[in-house]
Amino acid sequence: MIREVLATAVTFLLVACTRPTAPARDASADRAAVNAAMDAYIAAIRSGDTTVITRFWVEDAVYMAPTTPTVHGRAALDSLHRSVVRTARVTDVSVRTEETVVDQELAFQTATYSETLQPAHGAPNVIRGRLLFVWRRQADGTWRIARAMGTDATGT
């Protein structure tokens, strides 16, 4: 009897102790999922719906735009998005992905972007530059933006 109990206990512990290994993933499918998430994010920006835009960012997101201080957290990003939409309308935005690399739960993506903001009065403001996004896979399998940095690229 003791032997059976011990055998069961040892088996249980061996199973419990088996460290989970990262499941084999399809790298091209992961890259496609990240690129699709970027496409959906751009569609959200075009829509001007700040609630949807903000949903693409993780709770502890960090956004680092040129000439301005770093924005920490989704709540602060939501305020930023709302203030942009209040003062200007995004009339055009395009992103061209250059590279997407995925490793387990993290991905990074480099891209060029162009965005046209039309203020209530005056000429449109065209911003062009380069992006580096760090995406984090969520528990539900979706990809969300964890870090984003942009630069001006007037010379390119």
Binding site: I2, R3, L6, A9, V10, L13, L14, A16, C17, R19, P20, A22, V62, M64, A65, P66, T67, T68, P69, T70, E98, E99, V101, D103, Q104, E105, L106, A107, F108, T110, G129, R130, L132, V134, R136, A146, R147, M149, G150, T151, D152, A153, T154, G155, T156
Partner: protein, 157 residues
């Protein structure tokens, strides 16, 4: 039948093994985090010393830089690009945060520098932030595969 006395150490050993800390699923092993930190620690003095061999050794063979107001600098053009670096008399680039998964890490931080620039009488000061993506190589070392930065200061007119 196994003697009870001999089974207890076995169970204790298995329990102890269960309690051994595993690397966090979405994080980096301590050795990997240390390697990522070492790259940043090496970067700053190498840049100040204009030690381009050292700088180049921190990048992967396909590493790129994404500087503001310039095209992407591919690995083949890195040395020539570094050679245009101004002379920095002060440079700090502290890490603010590192996260990683598998063989990829994203470090971010701030920078603060003073440099002498040809054609300018006074030293130029700048401060901003940076992100560096690093990847573990097949030999186990970590290298920068892409880095980007921008200034907090207004554009000079």
């Amino acid at each position: 039948m196994l003697p009870r006395r001999s089974s207890l150490p076995l169970l204790a050993l298995l329990l102890a093994a269960c309690q051994a800390p595993a690397p966090p699923a979405a994080g980096l092993a301590p050795a990997d985090e240390a390697a990522v930190r070492a790259i940043v620690a090496d970067f700053v003095p190498a840049a100040m010393a204009k030690d381009w061999d050292k700088m180049l050794s921190l990048y992967s063979t396909d590493g790129v830089r994404l500087p503001p107001n310039e095209p992407v600098v591919e690995r083949a053009g890195l040395r020539a690009w570094f050679e245009t670096y101004p002379t920095m008399t002060q440079f700090e680039a502290p890490i603010v945060h590192i996260e990683g998964a598998g063989d990829v890490a994203a470090a971010r931080g701030t920078y603060n520098l003073t440099a002498t620039v040809a054609g300018q009488k006074a030293p130029v000061q700048d401060r901003g932030k940076w992100v560096s993506i690093m990847k573990k190589q097949s030999d186990g070392s970590w290298r920068i595969v892409a880095d980007i930065w921008n200034s907090d200061l207004p554009v000079q007119k």
